[in-house]
């Protein structure tokens, strides 16, 4: 058994995900279900193990219960190891007192001891709110070839979207000359994916410097990266050409789910060479009823489907009764959709019950996305107009018969 790891990954999973409410009301964003079978965090974790990185520290803070249960000892990702493996790193109390993670950089700073235990040459920083399949090995090779201190993975985005991202300007060799966090007038279209590789010594050095700066927000994008750039360190951009989506908003979360549909989906989940691993429930195979209709969709198992489903993502243990119409929607696990109900261009959180005849949202193109938070019951015949986000039973009172 080796005494060190070449590269250790640190996965920032403590964010609140406030723009994903109601899906993140009682769970951390990385634990939000995705693609019928997965949770968001399965993507970076599977990318790690598929890239040969078997040591991952997962930094948790906000609503960690469900996430911790889900991660366990990392068995689903083959990360239950004696040396290395998956470790959950919550905020803790030290001799000098206890402190929450104050920012992304501070979270890593507080866990440098974990990193140094494996004596890695490189540290990979990841976040828990992106859906993508990426071989980090190729990025690491480039980092090594460039003799870089830090390599930032970027994608080429349309110019009109560039101001939503951290934007890099590079010279001809790919070396970063300028970095602007959410610039108003972007002068490049290379957007940071929030995936960084640092050489461990430099990371340790700059995190320590950042700690001493009372004006710092302790954020990689805002503070650490600009500081390194100003100091003239060797910073490189790594241009990634594959599928990547930030699922930080309800609309982008919905859109990323839709990317898994089609005969040749943009987000191809059936690739045996790049499997996305996940923790399983014990579910029997799905039953399709005699009158079921099902097109351009993906469906989990353990449920039964008697109605009509098109262009949708249906998770496991979902019961869909007769005469229902579900289109362009994301239905999470353990939902029940009663006879004659319609669910169109909507997201249903886990364990939502739609009683018979209720109408949720409107056909795609006919208004905004409708979202029903987890554990809610929409009463018989209730109509939830398009563009509504239902977060709590009180929200339902406005819609007549309401729910529970």
């Amino acid at each position: 058994m080796s005494e060190r790891k070449q590269c250790v990954a640190m996965l920032l999973a403590g964010g609140q995900g406030s723009r994903l409410v109601p899906l993140t009301k009682s769970t951390a964003k990385p634990a939000v279900p995705f693609g019928g079978k997965y949770r968001i965090i399965d993507f970076p974790l599977s990318n790690c193990i598929n890239s040969g990185i078997d040591t991952v520290g997962v930094l948790t803070q906000y609503q960690p219960l469900e996430l911790n249960d889900y991660l366990g000892r990392g068995e689903p990702w083959d990360m239950n190891l004696k040396f290395g493996g998956l470790h959950i790193l919550p905020p803790y109390e030290g001799a000098e007192g206890a402190e929450w993670f104050l920012g992304t950089a501070n979270a890593i700073y507080q866990n440098l001891k974990f990193i140094h235990r494996y004596n890695p040459k490189y540290v990979l920083i990841l976040s828990g709110d992106h859906i993508y399949k990426m071989d980090y090995r190729i990025m690491l090779e480039e980092h090594i070839r460039n003799e870089a201190d830090c390599t930032i993975s970027v994608i080429d985005v349309p110019l009109e979207e560039a101001s939503r991202f951290g934007i890099m300007t590079t010279d001809r060799t790919g070396r970063i000359t300028e970095f602007n966090e959410k610039p108003e007038h972007p002068n490049s279209t290379l957007a940071s994916m929030g995936v960084y590789i640092f050489s461990t010594d430099k990371l340790t050095q700059y995190l320590a410097e950042d700690e001493l700066d009372p004006n710092s927000d302790s954020d990689f994008g805002k503070n650490v990266i600009p500081r390194m750039l100003n100091a003239g360190e060797r910073m490189f951009a790594y241009l990634y050409g594959g599928y990547w989506k930030d699922v930080g908003t309800l609309d982008s979360f919905w859109a990323a789910n839709m990317d898994a549909l089609g005969d040749l989906p943009e987000l191809f989940l059936n690739d045996p060479a790049w499997r996305i691993y996940y923790r399983h429930g014990n579910t029997h195979p799905e039953f399709m009823g005699p009158e079921a209709s099902l097109t351009n969709s993906i469906v989990g198992d353990g449920g039964a489907l008697y109605g009509s489903v098109s262009d949708s993502v249906i998770a496991s243990e979902v019961m869909i009764e007769e005469d229902t119409v579900i289109s362009d929607s994301v239905v999470m696990a353990n939902c029940r959709i009663g006879r004659g109900a319609r669910v169109e261009h909507a997201i249903l959180g886990e364990r939502v019950i739609i009683e018979p005849g209720a109408v949720i949202g409107a056909p795609l193109g006919d208004g905004e996305l409708t979202v029903i938070g987890p554990n809610l019951t929409i009463g018989e015949g209730t109509v939830i107009p398009p563009g509504t986000t239902v977060d709590s039973p009180e929200d339902l009172e406005a819609y007549g018969k309401g729910g529970r």
Binding site: H284, P285, D301
Partner: protein, 372 residues
């Protein structure tokens, strides 16, 4: 539960010979994502039996690969848990095509090591959620030496107790059986599932193998029934027998019945556990049509599927029609092909436009890895 379990993962007869050519019956895929041993193992752990020996006799690679450490059944324990009992695993053991008595005798060392009072023995030729805890309770209540389980609710065959001409008294004590039928079914002694006191089993194995009076196994069994308290435990829990191709097809298609699924997958005794595969969700294409079918995760359906069971990772391409059939893991039905009453074993490739049809009693069968 003061009972240990022993699963006989053997091929006691040439049942479903084609399906078990390359694997033991215990590893036979069934119901979209299971293998037969899942039912025996789940029944054990659902009865809180935490020490389970799996006796393997031949072609057991696929069983071991499937069950592995028993993790999915919470049987990877430091104390007890899963134990594989392979041929030649102990001194004095012999490779035997022999009777279950001989097979058990070879594993006497394991039975001796256990400390539980009772042993639940079960085979692997069935799919069913059976409450073994109730069986043991019944055994204790009757103060029996051996209690054999029989289901009155067999979906696709005549119940075993009728086939072997079992005669019981009013208290369900077994008086006799029809030796000719019994022999024809070549199940010896265990009749698939029974419970027996461990100490008594050890003594009995000793006596039966030494057989001082030179009785045939059948005579020895009748002798046992005459002298000891051998009881039948009749249950209405549903069982699907899987003995040959036609019972495999009819048993698979029985799952399309709501009541059968409910009794198998939502039994009070607990769920059927199996090895996980990290399959993605099932993907349905733009022209997919499905009705009255069981479709496991990881399958890709672009054509039409009716009254069928589709396993994990199987693929039905555009304009293909699959009806009344079973398509096992990772098999592909090419564009425009039409299958009726077919069973495709794993990794079969049906090329575009093929028309293949059997009948319920004579299913069209493709061996693992074949290409048509």
């Amino acid at each position: 539960m003061d009972a240990a379990g022993i699963i006989l993962a053997d091929n006691i007869a040439d049942l479903s010979a084609q399906l078990t050519e390359q694997r033991t019956l215990a590893a036979l895929p069934f119901g979209g994502k299971y293998r037969l041993i899942d039912f025996s193992l789940s029944n054990m752990v659902n009865a809180d039996i935490q020490n389970v020996g799996v006796i393997l006799s031949q072609q057991y690679d696929s069983v071991m690969h499937h069950v592995q450490s028993g993790m999915e059944w919470d049987l990877d324990r430091k104390r007890g848990g899963l134990r594989y009992l392979t041929p030649l695993s102990s001194a004095g053991a012999t490779i035997t095509e022999g009777t279950r008595v001989e097979i058990l005798r070879n594993n006497l060392f394991y039975i001796r090591q256990l400390s539980e009072k009772y042993i639940v023995l079960t085979g692997t030729g069935y799919a069913g959620a059976l409450d073994f805890a109730a069986l043991v309770e019944h055994h204790i209540e009757k103060n029996a030496d051996i209690t054999c389980l029989f289901s009155r609710n067999v979906v696709n065959q005549t119940p075993l107790y009728k086939r072997i001409g079992l005669v019981t008294d009013r208290d369900d004590r077994i008086i006799s059986f029809d030796p000719f039928q019994f022999q024809a079914l070549s199940s010896e002694l265990t009749m698939n599932t029974c419970v027996i006191e461990r100490e008594y089993l050890m003594r009995m194995l000793d006596t039966l193998t030494r057989n001082p009076r030179g009785l045939t196994p059948l005579e020895a069994l009748q002798d046992l029934i005459d002298k000891r308290r051998v009881y039948a435990y009749f249950t209405d829990e549903m069982v699907i027998y899987l003995e040959d191709l036609s019972s495999y097809l009819s048993g698979s298609l029985a799952l399309l019945d709501y009541d059968v699924r409910r009794q198998l997958f939502h039994a009070e005794s607990g769920p059927v556990l199996t090895k996980t595969k990290d399959s993605p969700a099932t993907r349905y294409g733009k022209e997919a049509k499905v009705s009255n079918s069981i479709i496991a995760d990881g399958a890709v359906i672009e054509g039409e599927v009716r009254n069928s069971v589709i396993f994990r990772g199987a693929r039905v391409r555009k304009n293909a029609i699959v009806e009344n059939s079973v398509i096992m893991q990772d098999s592909t039905v090419g564009e425009g092909a039409h299958l009726n009453h077919a069973i495709l074993d794993k990794e079969v490739m049906i090329e575009d436009g093929r028309l293949l049809s059997g009948y319920l009693t004579h299913p069209f069968f493709c061996r693992k890895g074949e290409r048509i």
